[in-house]
């Protein structure tokens, strides 16, 4: 049985990755998960300098999901390079570094700093809804998406994944713009902007008022968007959004994703990534799938 997949020349032993921001740089979850069993670890977004993030409360549970407005708290590239990358290189898994910034120059500075680092891919976060500058501001306009992709590609020594926001009218436009700018891979979806109000206190549940909705509640939206984007571009796709079971992961793959990321459900079950790896193998055994590549985008092929 072959579970390995190829993303822009990088071979993952299986399609299961972690979603940026939900897994730190792996150290905390390594107490529960054998990182060697994962296709890749995607780190929390790192900027050129440390960011403090937003005031608390930063999270609120919602039906089948949660809102977060962490605000990309991160240690900055210096400490990240010194501490987090050496931790991850001890494991037999691919390392994907998520990059955030407030300006185009910030993104490029981080990408340059990572050029000679032992990492496998870069994921460019142009879709965080919780920061005032950067983030989603770059991800809601196709011209900006294309421009930032092109700029980052000038300096990137690793394949570039552009992470798209679902908070747009037509996500395929953004995907096509990223592809036109030279993106190697597209990942989607980031969180959907939402709001929760505490009726007893008559306040916003989050200090930031709005936050990004994630978790199983958004999974069908993510599957639909992965399907649409898979039809619109040639480059591979990483699907994410509420994946909590092998079945959820397989839906994404059948919709057209080459790999998948598990995010919020890590909070529900810290071992869930390994369970999904095993569940995909069981599915392949049950349906006698020799190579997982047979499943990518196969939803249309079965009719």
């Amino acid at each position: 049985m072959i579970t390995k997949v190829n993303l822009a020349g990088v071979t993952l032993k299986n399609p299961v990755m972690t979603a940026s921001g939900t897994f730190g740089s792996g150290a905390e979850y390594a107490e529960f998960v054998d990182l060697n069993q994962l296709g890749a670890v995607v780190t929390k977004g790192v900027a050129n300098k440390p960011w403090e993030g937003n005031p608390t409360p930063r999270i609120a549970e919602t039906y089948g999901g949660m809102l977060n407005a962490i605000g990309l708290q991160n240690p900055g590239i210096d400490l990240f390079v010194e501490r987090d990358i050496p931790f991850l290189t001890k494991y037999d898994t691919k390392i994907i570094v998520n990059v955030c910034g407030k300006t185009l120059e910030d993104y490029c500075e981080v990408v340059k700093r990572l050029a000679n680092q032992p990492i496998d891919m870069l994921e460019i976060n142009i879709s965080c809804p919780n920061v005032k500058e950067g983030g989603i501001a770059f991800g809601q306009n196709p011209k900006m998406v294309e421009e930032i992709t092109r700029e980052v590609k000038k300096y990137a020594k690793q394949p570039v994944i552009m992470k798209l926001s679902p908070n747009v009218t037509d996500i395929t436009e953004m995907a096509k713009a990223a592809e036109a700018g030279g993106a190697d891979v597209i990942s989607l979806i980031n969180t959907i902007t939402g709001m929760k109000i505490d009726v007893h206190r008559r306040t916003f549940a989050l200090a930031n008022k709005t936050g990004g909705l994630s978790g199983p509640a958004i999974h069908p939206i993510a599957v639909r968007m992965v399907y649409e984007v898979a039809k619109a571009v040639e480059i591979p796709i990483i699907g994410m959004g509420g994946i909590g079971t092998a079945e959820d992961a397989l839906e994404m793959i059948l919709a057209g994703a080459t790999a998948i990321s598990v995010g919020t459900v890590n909070f529900r079950n810290p071992k869930v990534t390994m369970e999904i790896v095993n569940g995909i193998r069981e599915y392949m055994e049950q349906y006698r799938v020799e190579d997982i590549k047979e499943l990518i985008g196969a939803v249309d092929k079965s009719n």
């Binding site: 921001g21 939900t22 897994f23 730190g24 905390e28 979850y29 107490e31 529960f32 929390k44 440390p50 960011w51 403090e52 993030g53 608390t56 409360p57 930063r58 999270i59 609120a60 549970e61 039906y63 089948g64 999901g65 949660m66 977060n68 962490i70 708290q73 991160n74 240690p75 900055g76 400490l79 978790g215 199983p216 919020t264 459900v265 890590n266 909070f267 529900r268 079950n269 810290p270 071992k271």
Partner: protein
């Protein structure tokens, strides 16, 4: 660092010990063996729409019987679901989490307010010194009989229905109490008053904080508090309550 475990615990017994306050003894595999006073558990709901664990402090540890006790207030649907479980039911938990209280045998104040009271019980049991236990309640008392066995007990109630009418600081003042070290857990206004008191009197003071949490293990950065020193995770001034805390030196944190 203590080892953390994800376990399916079994409920030994659960009872409502005061209005809306529940006590559960859980049979664990390894968690009880590792647990220290002041640490907490992530408790997962059975209902799948409630994704996030409820962080609940450990009230008592019975290492011989591999059991831990948690005492919690029903505040929402998750804790309401938990309160419905009974003997023999399973409960997914992760723990023990957080740092816990340092044990220092000096003349002590143990100050608890409301649902911040439970973690002080195991602490009281593990301290072997002169203990002055000051508990503040809104109205209905709980755990007070168990604390009574652990030291000199002083109670304050907001409505004056028991003990001193007022808060824990009133109880300290009116009884003329003094200490060399303070351990406290309770609502933020209480912790602010305790912090100010400790600073004025120049007393070593340890506070257990809470904040909305998601992962409970230090990865998601939801439950931070402002700290005076740079934190070792992000190198800013945000300590993770679930990881570097929940217990902090009073002068270490701003709230």
């Amino acid at each position: 660092m203590t080892e953390k475990y994800k376990e399916q615990a079994v409920i030994i017994r659960q009872e409502e010990i005061s209005y809306g306050i529940y006590s559960v003894w859980l049979k664990t595999d390894k968690i009880a063996e590792q647990a220290k006073p002041g640490q907490f558990l992530s408790v997962y709901c059975h209902e799948g729409s409630r994704l996030l664990p409820r962080p609940i402090s450990i009230c008592e540890i019975d290492k011989a019987d591999q059991a831990v006790r948690i005492v919690y207030r029903v505040v929402g649907k998750g804790t309401e679901e938990l309160s419905q479980l009974g003997t023999g039911d399973h409960l997914d938990i992760v723990g023990p989490l957080g740092n816990g209280f340092p044990l220092k045998d000096k003349k002590t104040f143990l100050i608890g307010g409301g649902i911040g009271i439970p973690p002080l019980l195991q602490l009281a049991k593990e301290l072997h010194c002169e203990k002055q236990i000051i508990l503040g309640y809104k109205d209905n008392l709980f755990l007070h009989k168990e604390f009574k066995k652990q030291g000199n007990l002083y109670i304050a109630t907001e409505d004056g229905s028991y003990g001193i009418e007022g808060n824990v600081m009133d109880a300290i003042r009116e009884n003329g109490l003094e200490a060399e070290i303070i351990y406290a857990c309770g609502p933020m206004p209480m912790l602010r008053a305790v912090k100010t008191y400790a600073k004025d009197k120049n007393i070593e003071c340890w506070l257990s904080l809470e904040e909305k949490m998601a992962c409970g293990i230090g990865a998601c950065l939801a439950c931070v508090c402002k700290s005076n020193e740079r934190d070792n995770h992000t190198n800013v001034n945000n300590k993770r309550i679930c990881k570097e805390g929940p217990v902090f030196r009073a002068e270490e944190v701003e709230f």
